[in-house]
């Protein structure tokens, strides 16, 4: 399972889901679904998110063992 820190990074940067969506060029639904682990973004979108937050992809996303 893929987990992410987007909500935390967004809180640190004090931006809304809509701000992130507008900056990256996706819908707010996409950001909402990624934050809630309902959707795994493509490499392109993951790289855009990492560029936007100034973090590496590994810092934003991490694989969590389902047994954990």
């Amino acid at each position: 399972m893929l987990n992410n820190n987007i909500r935390v990074e967004r809180a640190i940067k004090r931006v809304s889901q809509q701000d992130v969506a507008d900056a990256i060029g996706v819908t707010r639904q996409t950001i909402f679904s990624i934050e809630n682990n309902k959707y795994v973004p493509s490499t392109e979108l993951a790289l855009r998110l990492s560029a936007y937050f100034g973090k590496t992809v590994n810092e934003l996303f991490r694989i969590v063992d389902s047994k954990e």
Binding site: V26, Q29, T30, F32, P41, E44
Partner: protein
Amino acid sequence: MNTKTNFLLPHKFQIAGWWGLLASAAIFAILLCTKIYVPQLYTPPILLVTIPFLISLLLICISCEKIDDEYINALRSRIIYYIIIAVVLIKMFYYISVVICTSYGAIGTLGIISFINILSNPIVLISIYIIAFRLILTFYKYKMNSYVEQ
């Protein structure tokens, strides 16, 4: 810049599609109300309804949303995937039922079974696809709006 999606027509074609759907419904209503002609399938006047209707459905299906991205594209693919599974199951059920009914002489039930087969008609499938896609998008929007941003 949007993330990559499949080839789709611009959003204005979808708006044109909805207007076309409305226009075909209006033409159908006029044909029925004026009683000049009672529409029947496969006769020339009904083409005034069926052709705009089919073109409109196609335009709605193959045009993108106002903001289209990979998530909406994934949603589209998922709906098509479930529709394909449903069609296969309906067809399988239909053939098995026909064989059973004809073997046991229950010919009277064939009418009901044939009605089930209509569900796998391409026009019905396109309509189901459009309705399902719209419903899911609306549901997600509602769910997202009810979520309080932290």
